[in-house]
């Protein structure tokens, strides 16, 4: 007797749970030959709003974890990615047979380990003790900004997305990321992987859908403290105009020319610094 096929309903990872879009809308996901694969949720600004609420709830707990514990959890994400590496590579090849899929997955796992190592080190390198001419002990510490909105690039659906999420969560921020529209499936798998990685629910929230639905709200939502976007000229302008109202930080990766996600400078300390606030304290001494 032949078995009925069991097909998976792709869902977005939001607040530690798997959701369909609040709107109930979906769009067709097709492979490189144009054959139907599955329906992907078409998230709306209300899903973004819900994701922001979830991220805000998770934020204080995540930021309060010890740096060492955050590193352990990021390393755990790498372990979970490793165990599903073949599935991830197949998902990337599905829409883009020319992609170096296995290489991309390996680079994504290595990048996760890279940031796992940074959690308890960036603060020593970016913080400082400052010389002042008054009887004060003056020092600067780095604190996470809060909620970060991410617009992931269209290409490199796994490595690009993770390379943008990791530097933000390393220091205790929480993120809401919109995945690639044309190649969303790796982000669906990434959600399933993050759900079993000891990462508290709500620290990473992954949305799928169109930029036109999400970008204007991401730019103007006052609760998001920064937007990190792989964006073209007109998108950058729209984000900057929206962000100006609440003095939101914007960090851009211009998408006019291809981004080399495998490059050495696609990771590291200075990416972490984008999403930190410096707090300087004047402590009276020796009077």
């Amino acid at each position: 007797m032949s078995r009925l096929p069991i097909t998976k309903t792709p869902k977005c990872f939001l607040g530690g749970a798997f959701i369909r879009s609040e709107s109930g809308r979906v769009y067709e996901h097709k492979d490189s030959a144009g054959a139907f694969v599955c329906n992907i949720p078409l998230c709306t600004r209300k899903d973004l709003r819900n994701a922001v609420e979830a991220a805000a709830k998770a934020g204080p707990g995540w930021a309060k974890r010890s740096a060492y514990n955050r590193g352990q959890i990021l390393y755990r994400i790498a372990e979970m990615l490793e165990s599903r590496a073949d599935e991830l590579a197949a998902a990337i090849s599905l829409t883009n047979p020319n992609a170096a899929a296995s290489r991309e997955v390996r680079a994504a796992i290595d990048r996760t380990v890279h940031y796992a190592g940074w959690t308890d080190k960036y603060e020593s390198l970016l913080g400082s003790v400052n010389p002042v001419s008054t009887p004060h002990f003056n020092f600067t510490v780095m604190e996470p900004m809060g909620l970060i909105g991410i617009l992931a690039p269209e290409e490199s659906p796994l490595l690009g997305l993770l390379s943008m999420i990791l530097p933000a969560i390393t220091s205790g921020n929480t993120v809401i990321a919109l995945a690639s529209h044309g190649e969303p499936y790796p982000s669906i798998l990434l959600g399933e992987i993050l759900a079993v990685s000891d990462l508290p629910g709500g620290v990473v929230n992954l949305l799928t859908g169109t930029r036109a639905d999400i970008l204007p709200t991401m730019a103007t939502h006052a609760h998001l403290r920064a937007v990190y976007a792989a964006a073209n000229k007109s998108e950058r302008t729209e984000i900057q105009q929206g962000a100006a109202e609440h003095v939101k930080r914007t960090v851009f990766l211009p998408s006019e020319k291809p981004i080399d996600w495998f490059a050495d400078d696609a990771q590291g300390l200075y990416h972490i610094r984008h999403f930190l606030e410096a707090k300087t304290t004047w402590h009276p001494v020796g009077v």
Binding site: P60, M145, H223
Partner: protein
């Protein structure tokens, strides 16, 4: 009060009718599917602001905290189109501090009394607490009923105590807190509502909860009490007001409660003389949603005096 005072819960319920629990829950499940948008949402939000009893009931309350609460009740936001709240709700000791700031304004001072939240003090003590709050300038008294006596079947005692507190209030409005979570069943809530309403005056309130137990105001409890008010009104012509309290934290919930009022009691109850929200955090979210409707941009909660911090 011409009617005979029923001795037993059973006879009271057979007189007023029992509650169809499944029917109530089906009914309130419909309320959360209503879509209130744009201009009607703004209207509902402003109405909800005008119905808030801005509450602080903590052991650590100070005159300073009450002062800031009063100023917030008077001017919830810069926007002058956002109304003042209906009242502030504080412990009796703090009434006189609130009075200094609210004298002459539209914001009333409500005070919990009668050994809130348990009500487990001798009647004489509870009455003297009520008189003290009234003489300090409270406009409204929130009393707790004796749930222990109710559950022990001493219904007449419960009713007599409410009547005694009512008399101690003088001209002050009385709100009788049933503490629904301790009454266990919808039938009990309905019975307690009738017990209280029969000795209350027009314009007095019945109120769901103290906010001090694990379970607070729900749409279900609210619906049972609204229907009790409706049935009592149809029977006697007396308009009793309603105040759900505790657990209503978001603007969305508040609008759902208002829908329940609109669809059960109608427009006559959609004002702050007939319906109130007992809440502390709700006002922040109401104002936040009003600013969102005005500017089009989602707002951060910490802009509206939630706990500050990067999140």
């Amino acid at each position: 009060m011409a009617r005979s005072n029923p001795i037993s819960l059973r006879s009271l319920i057979s007189e007023i009718g029992p509650v169809d629990q499944v029917g109530i829950e089906e009914r309130v499940a419909k309320y959360i599917t209503r879509s209130i948008k744009k201009a009607s949402k703004v209207q509902a939000l402003k109405l909800a602001v005008s119905m808030v009893d801005l509450t602080t009931l903590e052991g650590k309350d100070t005159p300073g905290k009450v002062a800031s609460l009063c100023l917030k009740a008077l001017h919830p936001h810069d926007d002058p189109s956002i109304p003042s709240t209906a009242a502030v709700c504080v412990y009796p000791r703090l009434v006189k501090h609130a009075k200094k700031l609210l004298r002459g304004s539209s914001v009333k001072i409500a005070s919990v009394a009668t050994a809130f939240p348990s009500g487990q003090a001798p009647l004489a003590t509870r009455l003297s607490e009520v008189r003290a709050a009234v003489s300090d300038g409270a406009d409204e008294i929130d009393m707790v009923i004796s749930r222990g006596a109710f559950l022990a079947g001493e219904l007449a005692l419960v009713q007599d105590e409410i009547a005694a507190v009512r008399d101690a209030c003088g001209k002050t409005t009385l709100k009788a807190i049933l503490e629904t979570s301790e009454l266990e069943t919808y039938d009990n809530i309905r019975a307690a509502s009738f017990l209280a309403m029969r000795v209350l005056r027009p314009g007095d309130f019945i109120k769901t909860s103290t906010g001090k137990t694990s379970s607070n105001a729900t749409l279900g409890n609210n619906q049972v009490m609204l229907e009790a008010i409706r049935d009592f009104y149809l029977e006697t012509g007396t308009e009793i007001a309603m105040k759900p309290a505790g657990g209503i934290r978001t603007a969305k919930q508040a609008i759902q409660f208002l829908i329940a009022v609109k669809e059960t009691l109608g427009d006559a109850w959609l004002n702050n003389a007939h319906y109130r929200f007992g809440a502390s955090a709700l006002l922040n979210d109401l104002v936040r949603q009003l600013v969102k409707e005005k500017t089009g941009a989602y707002q951060a909660p910490y802009t509206f005096s939630e706990a500050s911090g990067s999140y």
